[in-house]
């Protein structure tokens, strides 16, 4: 292994650790946010036992609002860092959930890389199967391990905000999984057409030699095979159902993101799509009524 490779490995490892750290911060601050909100609620005068809690807060000289506020700030910072995949150097342990997700992926990688390493070569089909396998495994692990955390019931004042945020993350992951699956299917005809070319070139009827002399002939033959394969694939029930699932995941993600953005934008002087849609609907109805009245007026004039 060269120094360059070792540097690359170190960089890859650091960036993976940063992502884990950012995700960890996100979940930690989510939990803290919940405790902060609970603390604020419990310190309210009408909360049972509030006086003692309030006294305790006084003793610590920390206003209860600032707990919730600071946790809220930390929460958002962690969230956006986790989205960006950036962060500081890792600290602490990798959460169990992440391990559960990563483990099958590592196993998959091992099962792929060992025979390839023994042979010293990687076949195209093998690699393609590996890519498909990774997408399936990732999606399965996500559905089994991570999704349930996102669907965990939320409580208290911030519950709806948290639910919408969780839903956006969940829908995005689902969409990403579906998109990977779709891309895998879409790549199929390229693979198949190349395999057909391979067979044709090795058939022994001189095609291989001909193609070596004329790359345009090779290209023309390949593109027509590719077109044929696509025409078959695009009509297949497998493709159509994958397309449906991918589109459905896209719509769900868009809607969840929209809901989340509404929460974010309500603190800014920016109208949300929902608000603008209401205005547009009113405008549309008013214009329709106006036109109808205008026409009725013209009809009366003619009489």
């Amino acid at each position: 292994m060269t120094e360059k490779d070792r540097d690359k490995d170190r960089n890859d490892s650091a960036s993976a650790e940063s992502m884990v750290k950012a995700s960890l911060d996100f979940w930690e601050s989510t939990a803290n946010l919940w405790f902060g909100v609970m603390k604020t609620a419990m310190s309210a005068p009408d909360f049972p036992g509030a006086a003692s809690k309030a006294e305790e807060n006084d003793r610590r000289d920390t206003p209860p609002e600032s707990d919730a506020q600071s946790e809220f700030d930390r929460f958002w910072r962690a969230y956006f860092r986790s989205l960006q995949g950036a962060g500081d150097a890792p600290a602490g342990v990798i959460p169990e959930m992440a391990l559960k997700i990563m483990e099958p992926l590592w196993n998959q990688m091992a099962s792929f890389s060992k025979p390839a390493a023994d042979r010293g070569k990687v076949g195209m089909e093998e690699f393609s199967e590996f890519v498909k396998g990774v997408s399936r495994t990732w999606f399965g692990s996500y559905e089994e391990e991570m999704k349930k955390y996102l669907n965990m019931p939320q409580l208290g004042l911030m519950r709806y905000y948290q639910e919408r945020l969780n839903m956006t993350v969940d829908r995005f992951q689902t969409f990403r999984g579906r998109l990977l699956e779709f891309a895998g299917i879409f790549y199929g005809p390229i693979e198949e057409s190349l395999r057909l070319m391979e067979e044709e070139m090795q058939s022994g009827d001189g095609k291989g030699e001909e193609f070596l002399k004329d790359h345009r002939a090779w290209y023309r033959t390949w593109i027509s095979k590719l077109e044929k394969k696509y025409m078959e694939m695009l009509r297949s029930s497998n493709y159509i159902s994958t397309l449906q699932e991918t589109l459905k995941a896209l719509y769900e993600y868009r809607k969840a993101r929209q809901q989340f953005l509404i929460d974010v934008l309500q603190d800014f002087p920016i109208p949300t799509n929902r608000e603008m849609d209401e205005v547009y609907k009113d405008l549309y109805r008013i214009k329709k009524r106006l036109k109808a009245l205008e026409r009725r007026g013209e009809g009366n004039e003619k009489r």
Partner: protein, 445 residues
């Protein structure tokens, strides 16, 4: 040369590696030729390129919200009735005027036809609630009324393209008295076909969810769908062709014009999309004579005017099976199907069809531009009947006051108004029309 590119030690060739080697070896064999080509390509791409589209001058004579009506005036008017063209809401009407020499608009103008062309504009989120009824019985009907009033005529020649053709079919069925002749081009009316992938896929999507998620259907979203109809040709082969001809200025200019047009895709108003998919692609109501728009049945038997139905044999978006059932369902006795050996876009822009498509429509309209049709006489109100009798007796139309500058027309010259809007009142045919309510919404005239 021995083929020894093995992928996995099994003795089998790795085609991807071979493909790469072919191209590299080819490039190595002809380095001088390649260098020369790259130099030429550089000159072409970095030099001035004429890629403007829709250069034929026009005047915007009507505007309402995002919708505009373009008016193209020929040097010499040789027709009694103007031609009203309705393009689809997917992509833009500029395709009919792509470049000089490949322009349907130019061909029509040279024949002396006055053209009004609907420009649906770019829908914004504000337009998401607009329905098919708003477009057909609202915008389109108002524009037709404007043109009828401007020219002082009772009807006009109506031509529809793709989805715009479907609009025209619906319009002609609900406002038959305003349409003298109907020309439909690559117009889908029968959606129960497996010939096009679009029909197969459209039945698989959920328009409600799509519209709820996006508001309007993004043009890029639809364009991606069109590209996926034939990825090998539209995503790979097309651009390989471009690279192979990148040193050819004419080719590059033509290619870029087409690229400009293809990816200039307005969003489609959400409600219009939802209604269109549900009524047409899901239920196929139009050809079954079960479609109801604006509370009224769209009865294809009401289409009694002459009909010319043109479609393309190799159309992958609107296949022949989606178009060719129209003529058998309408009430017209004068009707004709014409299937051209081309594709959905080629019908308007290919050099070959430029010689067939435009000239055919011109000939067909010229033959039907004169005397009133028998079908009109049957449906026209008493007042119109009287006018027609007068026309036959005197050889002139009561609403035409200027001599028509007819060269090809062998009939007795009629008179025509070429004045400003409202210079001659449109005859009052209110009694016979279902929705006859001309408005004064003209904001720009």
């Amino acid at each position: 040369m021995k083929n020894d590119k093995t992928a996995d030690g099994s003795g089998k060739a790795n085609p991807m590696s071979m493909a790469t080697d072919f191209f590299i070896s080819r490039m190595a064999l002809e380095p001088l030729k390649l260098a020369e080509r790259m130099k030429e390509a550089r000159e072409v791409l970095l030099g001035p390129l004429k890629t403007d589209i829709a250069k034929t001058p026009y005047e915007v004579v009507y505007e309402d919200d995002r919708v505009r009506l373009k008016y193209y005036r020929p040097a010499e008017v040789r027709y009694n009735y103007p031609l009203f063209i309705v393009y689809a809401q997917v992509n833009r009407e500029t395709m009919l005027d792509l470049q000089p020499g490949r322009s349907v608009v130019e061909t029509f103008l040279q024949s002396g036809l006055e053209i009004y062309m609907v420009d649906w504009g770019y829908a914004t989120r504000k337009d998401r609630y607009l329905t098919l009824d708003d477009h057909i019985n609202g915008y389109m009907n108002d524009m037709v009324d404007y043109v009828l009033k401007k020219h002082g005529v009772r009807h006009l020649h109506l031509m529809g393209i793709c989805m715009g053709g479907t609009f025209c079919v619906i319009y002609a069925a609900q406002h038959s008295e305003k349409v003298k002749n109907l020309v439909t081009t690559v117009t889908p009316v029968n959606f129960d076909t497996e010939q096009s992938l679009l029909n197969v896929w459209a039945r698989s999507i959920s328009p409600n969810e799509l519209v709820d998620a996006y508001g309007n259907v993004p043009g890029d979203f639809m364009n991606l769908g069109f590209l996926l109809l034939n990825p090998a040709r539209l995503i790979i082969d097309k651009y390989v062709g471009f690279i192979e001809n990148v040193n050819n200025r004419d080719f590059v200019e033509n290619f870029l014009r087409m690229e400009k047009w293809i990816f200039d895709s307005p969003d489609l108003p959400g409600e219009t999309f939802r209604e269109f998919i549900e009524a047409m692609y899901f239920k196929n109501l139009l050809i079954k004579n079960e479609y109801v728009l604006g509370g009224e049945l769209v009865d294809l038997k009401n289409i009694t005017m002459p009909l010319l139905n043109i479609y393309a044999r190799f159309d992958h978006l609107v296949p022949p099976e989606a178009c060719d059932k129209l003529t058998s369902k309408v009430g017209s006795t004068d009707k004709e199907d014409l299937c051209l050996d081309t594709g959905h876009i080629g019908i308007y822009v290919s050099s070959k069809t430029q010689k067939e498509f435009g000239p055919k429509i011109i000939r067909w309209l010229r033959e039907r531009d004169g005397a009133e049709q028998a079908a009109d006489a049957e449906t026209a109100p008493a007042k119109e009947q009287k006018e027609k009798t007068q026309e036959k007796e005197e050889g002139v139309s009561p609403v035409m006051t200027e001599p028509t500058l007819t060269k090809e027309q062998p009939v007795k010259p009629e008179k025509k108004v070429k004045g400003t809007p409202g210079s001659a009142p449109a005859p009052d045919v209110k009694e016979t029309v279902k929705r006859k309510t001309p408005t004064k919404r003209t904001k720009k005239a």
